[in-house]
Symmetry: C2
């Protein structure tokens, strides 16, 4: 496949090839609450409503979904304490902690550059 290759296109792949194939997983990370939740849990275990308050702005529905997906992917572990009232604790797994590190890094980048982005955006909108 793709043997029709114009050399000018073919000769310049590299990192692109890798990143293209993982686009699916990337959009997963881009989920509205995935990184906020993971990073929040990076500070330590939390119960459901604690987590909800700590993240801020998330509906309980979305928090439930996000947590379930994260558990499914092995990022967090869920511990039920059979007390009254019931308590459920969420903790990051080792895999989750490594994701949290990535999230913080990405967050730092956005934080460092968002003013620049905002500027460009306004300059662009002014013209258009």
């Amino acid at each position: 496949m793709e043997m029709t290759a114009h050399k000018e296109d073919e000769s310049r792949r590299g990192t692109a090839d890798e990143c293209r194939s993982i686009a699916g997983h990337l959009s997963w990370i881009g989920g509205r609450w995935t990184l906020p939740v993971v990073v929040t849990l990076g500070d330590g275990a939390l119960r459901f409503n604690q987590l909800k308050r700590a993240v801020g702005g998330v509906s309980q529905q979305m928090l439930t979904r996000t947590l379930k997906d994260l558990e499914r992917d092995g990022m967090i572990s869920r511990t039920v304490h059979p007390t009254v009232p019931p308590q459920v604790e969420y903790t990051l797994t080792e895999l989750g902690r490594s994701l949290a590190r990535q999230g913080i890094q990405l967050g730092s980048w956005v934080l460092a550059n968002r003013s620049a982005i905002e500027e460009h955006r306004q300059g662009f909108d002014a013209i258009r």
Copy 2:
């Protein structure tokens, strides 16, 4: 607001606070083609259709949109060569290059961990 604070919740913020506020920008990065395009351009300038082929699987509509957004945010610069037929070259700005580096890093992480994720996912699905 929020002066009702239970101390157990309040005392454990840190990195979370930062990341919460940038959730919006994060979902922007999570756009289906944002990172693939940026990373692809990381290897050098490309014209529209070259870029389309290099990224692979992107419709020209989505490429146009993604490029416009990226230009708006100051990640790429657009150069029109008034030739026949017209040629338009896209290049990363300095800001864009720094984003590309982030993208590659994130991509590497996914690449390194996706097998682990897949495993957990199957184990989880088996039980449920």
